[in-house]
Subunit: 472 residues, 2 copies
């Protein structure tokens, strides 16, 4: 296979050459990092008919991907609708190949698409070490990098690409951007649980090192994803857009969380307030909950704050919003205290049924989930916590075995905490089951998913931003 | 007239009585305070056929209103589309009468609607003194208050009505709420410049002292305004809804203002960022500007903060947002400094053309306008400011005479600050005029209303959240 590929020679000197290659699908794309974003990205590109190489340092992942999923399959592949089928399809057709060999496959590719994670350290500082290494590897291609376009898809501080990425590539390669190679920022905008769908429906933002690079990737992405592409002035604008759209949510969820706590104290139901306010034409409701989790909302503010530090301008509102959301799990503990206090129980020793550990509904993902600090809190208070989550049946979590189903509640659990609003906890079956739990006395609902009238009589219902309610 | 009115006797003992009276329009409504909200409210009610008394302490206002507008007319009447015509109409038909006699007309009314202002002091504390007096006057009606419903329309802290208003009325009257009289909160939701239109199109929130009161006023307001009515659990919920929908905007405008300052420092155009982010399905753009003004956004957070203090829970995000918006005028001064610095001018002694003093576009209203602190700042720096606003031609403002038109700029003004985005400053005529101003070197655009290509060549353009730009 590789020999044929090496024989292929196309000349990509100007926009017309690229456009022709895009039209004929005669481009090779190397995707660096085939994790939760990189793999689906590779699959959509290869399914559209472009030869795609998925490069990753994890040999087990690479092998399983080349088997079309492996057995047992890669865990996260099963979580995303339509991912497993597409993987089998493109591997079978020979359009997608995973590999650990960076140099060999990056060399023969025309576009290098970076899809590695950019986490935040426990000090709340962006950790660019993984992408720094990728940038170094790309620079080390030296003359083989000529005429390639490098795409940055991770979430990054606005200035990472222009002030760090490009200078590093130039320095390692000895080449010059916009003469020998080109760079484009095109931050991914996909939402876990909807990645395959989002990739082919949500508009993309493209900001090139120059207009030529932006235009080429705009054309390529239109072809590949069939979505609207917004070409912006430069990579820093593209990266800012990704950050601002997520930070907008962080700020508004913090607003909801803060106000929800105040409303409880004022004996006002914030859910009723939100329903009323939503009838004003310029209001957009955001809902209180147990905190924000996942790969985006908890971390994205820190990329912006970090670039802010560098120009001596801290966005205080953004920082405060992040901190409010971080404290929200402690508020849930407070609600649990309040509920147990209603029935005269301490937390210590009380069996607590904790339902749902994912950071959001209907996905298998516990990254920065608020379930972690809440359960740690409860255990610090010597509660006896038993956990169930339909996506983690019988797995282990925080050194506990997760229950195979929720039927244990009936035994002797006076309190349930519904942490994640998974579908299963909204079913009639579940609600009917609750009525059979004769020892149940308190329900803490971290997402306000229940109506009072559907709850068992004689329990205390504690919602977020709602006054405690005895169900009669 | 009064004699006939006094003879009228209806018995309003239960919901059916009220419903019958509403159907027959056989109710008298006293509106306390006929200012910017009370007058249009009175007019809509009376136009629908209900006899309405507008009670106000200002005898000049009362006289002019009874003349159908007076000559010269009441200033604010002319500002609201459709207000002057409706006033003439209902006065002519004898459906609306203004008066300074509270007791006499409140007594014979079935509904007392409070529409007085609730400002915030310079210490950022709600000033309830006006409404406290109204509440006292209402209580002093004693037995004459029986069977009446009192509606609170002003913006208030969530708990004002229940913890202060009702107890005061009970104490002054010796009557009991929900037995002798009823109370409803129905905060106005109208936007200056669109008040008559909003009154008959924006849904209303009704929260009664009990369900009966809520239902009666829901029925009355449906009849009067022909809009959706959302009946909520109690007055505190209704008041919270009004606050939260405005504070949502305060917080999001603060977010825009804070980020816009950071983006300039990062050499990023925030307007381009917002345009890109708006293509994400869950993003709602708010735009940076010179600060927030007017009767609602700058003050509403303080009612909530004040009630928060009382339960020892300060909403810090809301407070910070308010403070960010308060500092935004100082940022505009900074932009003016930057613009003048580009051309080597100091602020001291430089003639500055300042266009637009209203707090928002196309209304005649300078309440808490950011124009005030900006101009004060500039004068403290010894600038020579000349002001023009199409709504305040030749008026006086901050001890200055306002220019009759903008044609003075041509003379010797190197810098224009477009503070308010009035229509006139967006016209082609204005843009063509700018090209004739040969001494013009800097334009500071507080609302980013201009495109680079429509500006005169050779000037520096300074937008909010946009890098300074030399127009070539």
């Amino acid at each position: 296979m590789l020999n044929n590929e090496e024989k292929r020679k196309i000349s990509l000197k100007n926009y017309e050459d690229w456009q022709k290659a895009i039209d004929k699908k005669d481009l090779r794309i190397a995707v660096i990092g085939i994790g939760r974003i990189g793999l689906p990205t590779s699959l959509v590109i290869s399914k559209r008919g472009f030869m795609t190489y998925g490069i990753d340092i994890n040999p087990v992942l690479v092998e399983k991907v080349n088997q079309g999923g492996g057995d047992p399959p890669i865990p996260f592949v099963l979580d995303e609708p339509n991912l497993a089928e597409t993987l089998k399809d493109v591997v079978l057709k020979g359009l997608f190949k995973a590999t650990t060999q960076f140099e060999q496959f990056a060399k023969i590719s025309d576009v290098i698409l970076i899809c590695v994670p950019t986490p935040v350290t426990e000090h709340k500082v962006p950790d660019y070490s993984i992408i720094d290494n990728v940038v170094k590897d790309i620079g080390s291609l030296k003359d083989d990098l000529k005429n390639k376009i490098i795409i940055f898809e991770p979430t990054l501080g606005p200035h990472y690409v222009e002030k760090h990425g490009i200078p590093s590539i130039e320095s390692f390669s000895g080449l010059k951007v916009n003469r020998d190679f080109w760079v484009v920022s095109c931050p991914e905008r996909a939402n876990p649980g909807y990645i395959m769908e989002n990739l082919t429906s949500v508009p993309r933002i493209v900001g090139g090192s120059n207009d030529f690079a932006g235009k080429v990737i705009t054309s390529l992405y239109k072809k590949v994803y069939n979505v609207e592409i917004i070409q912006v002035s430069n990579p820093r604008t593209a990266n800012s857009i990704k950050l601002i759209e997520n930070i907008f949510r962080t700020v508004n969820i913090a607003f909801a969380n803060e106000i929800s706590q105040l409303m409880r104290r004022l004996d006002i139901d914030y859910m009723e307030v939100l329903k009323g306010a939503a009838t004003k034409y310029n209001f957009l409701p955001h809902y209180p909950g147990p905190g924000v989790g996942g790969p985006c909302l908890p971390s994205n503010p820190y990329y912006l704050i970090d670039d802010g530090y560098k120009v001596s301008f801290t966005p205080n509102l953004v920082r405060l919003a992040t901190e409010i959301n971080q404290r929200q799990p402690a508020h849930i503990t407070e609600l649990i205290f309040e509920g147990l206090n209603k029935i005269g129980y301490p937390i210590a020793g009380t069996p607590i049924a904790f339902l749902g550990i994912s950071y959001k509904a209907n996905v298998k993902d516990i990254q920065i989930s608020s379930a972690i600090p809440i359960i740690e809190d409860l255990r610090n208070y010597n509660a006896s916590v038993k956990v169930y989550d339909p996506f983690y049946k019988s797995d282990r979590f925080l050194n506990m075995k997760i229950a195979p189903d929720y039927k244990f509640i009936q035994q002797d659990y006076p309190i349930i905490v519904v942490h994640t609003d998974h579908k299963e906890f909204c079913t009639n079956e579940f609600k009917q089951y609750l009525k059979k739990c004769s020892n149940l006395k308190v329900l803490v609902d971290c997402h306000n998913i229940y109506e009072y009238q559907e709850l068992p009589q004689g329990i205390y219902y504690i919602g977020v931003g709602r006054p405690a309610k005895y169900i009669e």
